[in-house]
């Protein structure tokens, strides 16, 4: 009986470990979108190109845009100029991102958070976007300056989400590329 229980427990542990590994597998093609309309997403687009990823960038992606994609990369960060250019309010943007995340979760498309804007894209209006995307991500790639207060680290540890911290924006390129290898 004892061995039976321990076998079941072992199997369960293996299963859980296996599923968490599965959850961290990312495949192409990749949809890149923004949360908060900061132009940081344009940098991520450039870095993804340099890594030769099969990626498409849609700044204001909606649930329908997910069709055919296997990974969703979201770059959170608030920009009043960006929202102004898009002609939408912060609330509109929050609702768009919520619906996109919900759709991705339903379709089992894993979400990768990429925060590259440092403290310029933290606090104030940015953090509502940072929180929303981080809570729903399967992997986080963050430039250290944006995590000086441990914002992303603490979400990563409480939710058990793998997090990679790098010093500089250019250093995000390699770990981004490696996700798909």
């Amino acid at each position: 009986m004892k061995t039976g229980i321990s076998t079941i427990v072992t199997i369960m542990i293996l299963f859980l470990a296996g599923s968490s590994l599965l959850a961290q597998k990312f495949e192409q093609p990749v949809l890149i979108s923004s949360a908060g309309q900061s132009a940081d997403v344009k940098l991520v687009k450039m870095l993804a190109q340099r890594q030769g990823l099969n990626a498409t960038t849609v700044l204001m992606a909606k649930p329908d845009d997910l069709t055919g994609f296997k990974t969703l990369v979201i770059v959170p960060g608030f920009s009043s100029k960006g929202l102004g250019a898009a002609g939408i309010s912060q609330q509109d943007e929050i609702e768009r991102v919520q619906s996109l995340i919900k759709a991705a979760n339903n379709l089992k498309i894993p979400i990768v958070l990429m925060h590259i804007g440092g403290n310029a894209r933290r606090q104030g209006q940015s953090d509502s976007f940072n929180q929303l995307v981080a809570d729903n991500s399967k992997y986080m790639l963050v430039v250290k300056q944006g995590d000086e207060d441990g914002f992303f680290s603490s979400i990563a540890s409480t939710k058990n989400i793998p997090l990679t911290l790098v010093e500089k924006i250019a250093e995000t390129a390699e770990p981004l590329g490696n996700l798909f290898k």
């Binding site: 450039m46 920009s79 310029a120």
Partner: protein, 374 residues
């Protein structure tokens, strides 16, 4: 009776004296500070040479030319669109007094809105000038207004209707050059200055143009490079380059529907690639304390430290060091250099090669004054 007259006379004399002192002080604001261009200078013209309609006005301003004699591209560097932004003017002065061009040409306009240098903003308590110690003495610079002097353009309408977009803005913005592009030849003075700048960009076939600014630590658009959407890659390349040098700039796209700004209209109405940069200047902010020369130059203000600690707003303020003028000028010059580097990668046939500008670390170590020529 005599006593009554006596007090009237005394009050009159005191008032007259105060008036004379104020008039002398205001008059001094019309005296432009002398600039000392580097040996690389090859020409100096007036902006009115590109559009007669500002000749003889306080809106006319010097245009400095550095022509390498080697065929290449043309850059335009503008400071002083908003003369209350000290690092905007001072960055162009440092460039003017050190620049060497070995390929292509560089135009520099240090006092883009010259009229706005002749007054200061009412109710703000700004000092009228500030001094920078140099290797051999002290240079004094005016701290002007955000907008054209009302003596040169008055009255403001209640609502400003931007030409030609018809975008409605507060009447005060009628005198803001960075809401007046592309301007018009028969418009108000500010629109005519804007028009003259567009003529210069066209006539000189400017390839890349810079508009240097500063803003309050609490506004969202600070420590940024604002770029026109057609030239995204150049901006992103520069941002990565600047970050490798330890300087963080956030990219901001120029909104298509916000009119009159250089990063929008220079890009839409000319062939130039426009970039606007902003540094954080606590002396301009709403949360600032005593507004004196020290705040303008040292950029240290405890109120911003407290504001940042609340976390309610994103505040672009470094609590340990403040935002000193060397840091702000150093960022702007690094931004110009790195954007030109990035431009050169995309336009190898229209290269612009500039040399001899101090880098950020040098300016931080030695101070701005070390790089002024007199």
């Amino acid at each position: 009776m005599i006593r009554n007259h006596l007090s009237t006379i005394i009050i009159t004399i005191i008032t007259a004296t105060m008036g004379v002192i104020a008039a002398i002080s205001f008059g001094k604001m019309h005296q432009p500070e002398e600039l000392f261009p580097s040996e690389g200078l090859t020409g100096k013209v007036m902006l009115s040479d590109y559009f007669e309609g500002i000749k003889g006005t306080n809106g006319d301003t010097e245009v400095y030319l550095f022509d390498s004699g080697v065929e290449g591209g043309t850059a335009l560097v503008c400071g002083g669109a908003h003369p209350n932004e000290a690092a905007s003017f001072l960055s162009t002065v440092v460039i003017l007094e050190n620049l060497k061009v070995t390929c292509g040409r560089v135009f520099i306009i240090p006092r883009l809105n010259n009229s706005a240098f002749t007054c200061s903003d009412p109710m703000e308590g700004f000092p009228a000038s500030y001094e920078i110690p140099t290797k051999i003495g002290i240079r004094k610079f005016r701290l002007g207004s955000r907008v054209t002097n009302p003596l040169d353009q008055w009255p403001d309408p209640l609502v400003f209707s931007q030409y030609p977009s018809n975008q409605q803005l507060s009447g005060f913005e009628t005198r803001n050059i960075n809401r007046s592009y592309p301007g018009r030849p028969d418009g108000n003075l500010t629109e005519r200055i804007a028009y003259a700048i567009i003529q210069l960009i066209d006539k000189e076939k400017v390839n890349i143009a810079f508009d240097i600014h500063e803003s309050s630590p609490e506004v969202p658009i600070v420590n940024v490079i604002v770029y026109h959407e057609n030239y995204e890659e150049i901006a992103m390349g520069a941002i990565l380059g600047l970050e490798m040098a330890g300087l963080q700039f956030s990219p901001e796209t120029s909104p298509m529907n916000f009119h009159g700004l250089s990063h929008r209209e220079w890009g839409d109405y000319t062939n130039a690639i426009p970039f606007l940069m902003e540094t954080s200047n606590p002396s301009m902010g709403r949360l600032r304390g005593k507004t004196d020369v020290d705040l303008v130059l040292r950029g240290y203000c405890d109120n911003y430290k407290k504001a940042k600690e609340t976390g309610a707003l994103r505040i672009a303020y470094r609590e340990d060091t403040g935002e000193p003028i060397a840091h702000r000028v150093g960022r702007h010059i690094a931004g110009v250099v790195e954007l030109i580097n990035s431009y050169n990668l995309y336009y190898p046939d229209m290269q612009i090669v500039i040399e001899n500008l101090p880098d950020y670390d040098m300016i931080m170590e030695k101070g701005v004054g070390e790089f002024l020529n007199n």
